[in-house]
Subunit: 327 residues, 2 copies
């Protein structure tokens, strides 16, 4: 494989990767972002962001485009469709990043692979796993396919509520299934949900203390089986689609053995400087241990890694130094 | 003093405080920002920000206004001209925040006092310390006062270069004095500076390996005395103004004895959850130890503190728990 050398390789083009790229590029480092699909990460499927300070409201694709253009203006290069398959640290300290037939080499790698949709693992989920046949993980992306139809939404977190509210603008009827009686989501969202549920002629209803046990149908989703965890009773819910909003898992399987991962798959690194156990390799964003899992914290994580990278490049011994009193 | 109770008190209305306020208010917490002057912190005097991801270019006041409006839209209250004089933790765990004749009380306080301009401490600096008589710490604010005049700029960091370049658009002649031969600033800025210095008919020149030893004049600045640290030789530089860009000191004197501070005055806290040694009191932004000192990292710090605050409110024992594998 022909080697391609860079000053900084960023693995993943989500918000953390784009934040890192802006700062690395502004430092005149030859910077490449290797992105498996296309940039944006989780926000690429979000149509309304109102918690990124500075924007009262913006769509995920719009914000992604702004961030990417900003980094590109300073010279950051983006390679889409580039899945990293292996990483290795050479004896000379250089990091090799294998990506199909290409081998990228750099002194510094910032890992920003982000997280992906968690699956429920119930019968029927894989069989119908695309919006065309009835199972989706993204309300924002797929809601329009269910205009005038009946859908079941599963989950209780922030994204679950946001996407369910979005769904209710399209579907004729939305039934939200949540395994607990209370919602763990931000109060402002829970209030918005409850207001919608209790509105006159609401098309949104709740099944609390309940879990989805299977998804059934002939060729496409026709019903969801929902079990009340308190009574043990099951109910068939006739529906045209099932949206599963039960969280994210870190996209870190390809890193196993290279950096240390937690049991849940998050990259182990120190919170201050984001150093992993491999000198020259930083982790930033939702892929790392202790991530706050917010858009702006992911962006700032990338920026922080790009700032810390300069300490390492000036003096590799910095890698083993403890937290300074002030940078 | 009459007590005023809040769910969350934020001390300082800079980017960190505004980030914290947005998240606290979105969680329907009764939130107040106590700000000594007016909101914005350091960026209030910045006319061009191009490293906040999402905005290719925005002024500090504009970004401040957007962030404040965004937090206010969810109910966050801002009190300007409110200098906090003392903090105390009661035996019942409530935090008292004294502010002139007012006493604010809350279970949670997020400290975001930011940093201020560092002074050189040379003769003449205090005497002429306002733009009207010739000494300034803010190129963006005061450059227009020196249109067609000669000014000396002291410093070598990012802000020093940014503000010096800005000055050179107004002043007839700018002499930049830097104590080292090399600049520690971001390369992209150093390159912009050098391009400007080497441009034909440039109005910008450098005095490297040099320090300012005094500022002199009769009623107003008339000359700066500059010493070459290698040769020991001093030179009188005739000028109408001196801009001092030598960094920031944390605004934490009022916190001494309440939370732990480093020798340089930064608030000691753990980097992951931003907990200080006082349960219920978080620190975020440029005031804290290990801060990356960037705009977006300060904002994210505030957001992180507001996220972590929820753990403490749910269970005060969380304060002593170690870093979790994943939040």
């Amino acid at each position: 494989m022909a080697e391609q050398h860079f000053d900084c390789i960023i693995v993943g083009g989500g918000p953390a990767g784009l934040g890192a790229a802006l700062y690395a590029a502004r430092d005149r480092m030859k910077t490449i972002i290797l992105e498996k699909f296309y940039p944006g990460g989780q926000i690429i499927t979000t149509d309304r962001i109102e918690n990124y300070p500075g924007f009262a409201e913006i769509s995920g694709p719009d914000l992604t485009e702004k961030m990417m253009a900003q980094a590109a203006a300073f010279g950051a290069e983006l390679r889409t469709g580039s899945e990293v398959t292996e990483l290795r640290r050479r004896d000379d300290g250089m990091i090799e990043v294998a990506c199909g037939k290409d081998l990228f080499v750099s002194k510094v790698v910032i890992l920003t692979p982000g997280s992906s949709y968690r699956h429920l693992g119930v019968p029927g989920e894989e069989e119908f796993r695309n919006a065309g046949t009835g199972v989706s993980y993204c309300g924002t992306c797929d809601a329009p396919f269910f205009k005038g139809k009946t859908v079941v939404a599963v989950g209780g977190g922030n994204t679950a509520i946001e996407d369910t509210l979005h769904l209710s603008k399209f579907a004729a009827k939305v039934i939200m299934v949540h395994r607990r009686k209370e919602f763990r989501a931000t109060k402002v969202l829970v209030e918005e949900l409850m207001a919608k549920v209790h509105a006159p002629d609401s098309n949104l209803s709740l099944m609390l203390d309940s879990t989805l046990t299977s998804i059934e149908g002939s060729g496409k989703v026709q019903k969801a089986v929902v079990k009340n965890v308190k009574t043990g009773q099951t109910n068939d819910v006739a529906c045209d689609g099932v949206f599963i909003f039960v969280g994210m898992v870190p996209n870190t399987a390809f890193l196993n053995g290279f950096v240390d991962l937690t049991e849940a798959g998050f990259i182990r690194c120190e919170p201050a400087y984001l150093r992993t156990r491999v000198p020259g390799v930083f982790a930033a964003g939702d892929c790392r241990v202790g991530a706050a899992m917010q858009l702006v914290t992911a962006v700032a994580d990338g920026v922080n890694a790009a700032m810390c990278m300069k300490h390492y490049l000036r003096d590799p011994k910095w890698w083993d130094e403890p937290l300074a009193d002030a940078i």
